[in-house]
């Protein structure tokens, strides 16, 4: 169920509700319990930081720094953490399916591979019970209309590529800590390893792949891409990361109907 909050008080209340932090006899939240939960639970910190900042999704580095702040601060100061929460309306999408469409579909620097990304990104649109979210212009929030969306314990589906490091790191942290399940379309590593592509494209592609390291599943566009991604997953062991499970789900052919694209998106989530 989706719940909305705006400002410090509502954000703190919604946080406690979602974390199931009890309310004491005076009607106040048990600050000590909340403090302890946030210190020990990175997912809870991710949600708290998202809420207190008006929907700005944190990076792993920011989440870690917040843990340090909590460890070195007094629990009684907990409420202050939310004092500066903006009045911007945020919505916690709880146990929903959230389709993240990219902020930009200009993938021309990726050659033929870029054309495929663009086709999938442009045709994979939200429908039915799937909520669509786009990156805000500053690349820090996921927006559905004018509301910042926080995908909490939801299924997070990413169909584009994230070439900006800030967005890639926020998406990666949301997949690891916010989402119940995280799924993405996998396009392989060609711009990194092909040599013929521009080296700038290679850096952008490496950024995109960094966002996917902690996803649960990648659906490769074909068997060759799946084999390619298995190689990438092998490389991740040096990071102490297992990497996502990789399967194959071919996108609809050029000129397919909207219904076929809807079925594809549903398949990405439910297969």
């Amino acid at each position: 169920m989706r719940r909305t909050a705006a400002g410090p008080k509502q954000s703190l209340s919604l946080l406690c509700e979602r974390l199931e932090i009890p309310v004491d006899s005076s009607g106040s939240h048990e600050i000590g319990a909340l403090h302890e939960r946030l210190r020990s639970d990175a997912s809870a910190r991710w949600l708290a930081m998202s809420l207190r900042s008006g929907g700005r999704l944190p990076t792993d580095v920011e989440i870690r720094e917040y843990a340090r702040e909590l460890a070195l601060s007094d629990p009684s100061e907990m409420g202050k953490h939310f004092i500066h929460s903006p009045s911007k309306k945020v919505s916690v999408a709880y146990k929903e399916s959230v389709l993240v469409t990219p902020g930009s579909t200009d993938y021309s620097s990726f050659g033929v591979g870029g054309a495929l990304v663009r086709r999938i990104a442009e045709n994979s649109v939200p429908s039915g019970r799937i909520l669509g979210a786009r990156w805000s212009r500053d690349g820090r929030r996921l927006m559905a209309g004018n509301t910042a969306i926080i995908p909490w314990r939801s299924t997070l589906l990413s169909v584009g590529i994230e070439t900006r490091l800030s967005r890639a790191l926020r998406l990666g942290a949301a997949a690891r800590l916010g989402a119940q399940t995280s799924i993405a379309v996998g396009y392989g590593t060609t711009p990194l390893l092909a040599g013929g592509e521009s080296s700038i494209a290679a850096a952008a592609w490496a950024t995109h792949l960094a966002s996917l390291q902690r996803f649960d599943r990648l659906w490769a566009t074909d068997a060759i891409v799946a084999a390619d991604l298995e190689g990438w997953r092998t490389m991740l062991s040096s990071l102490g990361v297992a990497g996502p499970a990789i399967g194959v789900l071919a996108p609809p052919a050029q000129g397919s109907s909207s219904q076929e694209w809807r079925d594809y998106v549903t398949g990405l989530i439910e297969s």
């Binding site: 580095v61 460890a71 080296s199 700038i200 290679a202 991740l236 040096s238 990071l239």
Partner: protein
């Protein structure tokens, strides 16, 4: 860059001599080839080039074509140049091929080569140590290259070479460069200059071993050398961090590394510095193979744990000293050490923290925590550069070291610490876990600050734990750079082209 016009008498005579070197290697007969007088030079060069071109339009051998072009231009060709030359050879006209070779070769030679220089063909193993030869930088890769080159330089089958940028071909080292590469830390026994003459080297039935990541402008020509020169290329691979740990490096480093992979995928063999790094390169091979690229062999020879010659004995201090070695950048995770130290100082533990390392990139978090602990009056020092002598002295006084890096290809500070008998706290995955498995280390998840706090506290307050780790260090098998260099060279020599000397 060439000082001579390609049409000066000196350059023409030199061209004639260079072509003759290739002619002899290919066993091609040219009348009057034994005369190298200047009057005869232009005609002889033309006749020799034509004879060589005649041979190539028949053989269509890319390696021969590559060598002829290199002799003409004193540079290495890139893919486009080789494609044009191969197309011309396929047409079957020696004159046309000779004209094109001269046109392309002399243009490149004027810009990047040395058209008045002689060349020699070199077989065996050619080790490209360019950056370590020309730079005084001495961290990570340069330490490895210099430590191994010390021994490689003694092997008669090995030639150490450098290149001057762009598509410049290899050349032998000046005395100064040779000292910098293979006798680092030894007093200089003479004066030499970069300007002193060196020999240009054409690798011939050789293995070109590349233990550094070359400058980006050299990669296209080295990739072509790997694919079409008839030589094999061997790589000492250090890590694939620029593509797997994108957030830990500047974009430019990833761009450079992606170009480097052109060279790697054209190589014959990759010898990684750890099993973890080998796994990364196996992944690269797996991905490349999915797209039909050529394969390469991947293995590893872990870097050794050898006590440096300058090291002295351990020095006992009253107050515990905790040492952190490594450049200041997000990947090294030193802000976590400063945070953990602050937690322990607040608990009342007494110790001094020394962080040694050069300033890297994106140092905001490190600077912020350093300011914070300094403002609190904590005993912390952070020298940004120490020579080897001072660095070893810092190890000598350390009670333990902390190296909680988020990603490494190896982790030299871990073995340096162990070589000094100093226990290490390091990360529980990748190459760091690999080294730690041999004993003397506590491992932690470097992304979990609390684990670091616990490990540091334990080593500060539990003398029996420090003793146990010290015993484990003493029991670790010792290894040497000499053995490492020998082992790598033994592997590389397995890949000498068939019929090669050396």
């Amino acid at each position: 860059m060439s000082a001579a016009s390609p049409f000066s008498e000196r350059a023409v005579t030199a061209l004639s001599r260079r072509l003759d070197v290739v002619r002899v290697a290919l066993n091609v007969t040219v009348s009057g080839a034994d005369r190298q007088d200047s009057e005869h030079g232009a005609q002889l060069a033309a006749r020799t080039l034509l004879a060589l071109s005649s041979r190539v339009v028949t053989s269509l051998d890319s390696a021969e074509l590559w060598a002829i072009y290199v002799a003409v231009s004193t540079t290495y060709p890139d893919r486009l140049t080789m494609e044009r030359l191969e197309s011309a050879a396929a047409v079957g006209s020696p004159g046309r091929l000779a004209d094109l070779t001269l046109e392309l070769g002399l243009a490149a030679g004027e810009r990047f080569g040395n058209l008045s220089a002689d060349v020699r063909l070199v077989s065996g193993v050619i080790v490209d140590v360019t950056f370590s030869a020309i730079s005084d930088h001495n961290t990570g890769i340069q330490r490895v290259v210099r430590s191994a080159s010390r021994w490689w330089a003694l092997d008669p089958a090995v030639t150490l070479v450098a290149a001057d940028g762009g598509p410049s071909m290899h050349r032998t080292l000046t005395a100064d460069e040779a000292h910098r590469v293979s006798r680092w830390n030894e007093p200089i026994d003479g004066v030499s200059s970069r300007a002193e003459p060196t020999d240009l080297v054409i690798p011939w039935h050789a293995v070109v071993l590349i233990p550094e990541v070359p400058a980006i402008e050299r990669i296209a020509s080295l990739s072509e050398l790997a694919r079409h020169s008839g030589n094999n290329v061997a790589i000492v691979a250090h890590d694939a961090i620029p593509i797997t740990g994108r957030e830990y490096v500047p974009a430019a480093e990833t761009e450079r590394f992606a170009r480097y992979l052109e060279l790697v995928t054209g190589a014959t063999v990759v010898t990684a510095v750890s099993e973890s790094a080998a796994t990364e390169f196996k992944g690269i091979r797996e991905s490349s193979l999915a797209h039909g690229s050529a394969s390469f062999d991947v293995g590893f020879r872990r870097l050794p744990m050898e006590l440096p010659v300058l090291a002295r004995g351990r020095v006992k201090t009253r107050v515990p000293v905790v040492l952190v070695v490594g450049s200041r950048e997000p990947r090294k995770n030193q802000d976590a050490v400063l945070y953990a130290a602050e937690r322990l100082w607040r608990e009342g533990l007494e110790f001094e923290l020394i962080l040694v390392g050069a300033w890297g990139w994106s140092t905001g978090a490190f600077r912020s925590w350093l300011r914070r602990v300094r403002a609190a009056g904590r005993p912390v020092s952070a020298p940004h550069s120490l020579d080897d002598d001072d660095l070893w002295r810092a190890y000598d006084v350390a009670w333990f070291t902390v190296f909680p890096s988020l990603q490494e290809g190896f982790g030299l500070p871990i073995v340096e610490s162990l070589a000094h008998g100093v226990p290490v706290i390091t990360s529980d995955y990748g190459s760091m876990a690999e080294i730690a498995a041999g004993g003397g280390c506590l491992t932690i998840d470097p992304r979990e600050d609390e684990q670091l706090v616990i490990a540091m506290r334990s080593l500060l307050i539990e003398p029996e734990l420090r003793s146990r780790l010290a015993r484990e260090i003493a029991a670790r098998p010792r290894d040497s750079w000499e053995q490492y260099a020998t082992d790598v060279m033994d592997i590389v020599k397995l890949y000498l082209p068939v019929g090669a000397e050396g």
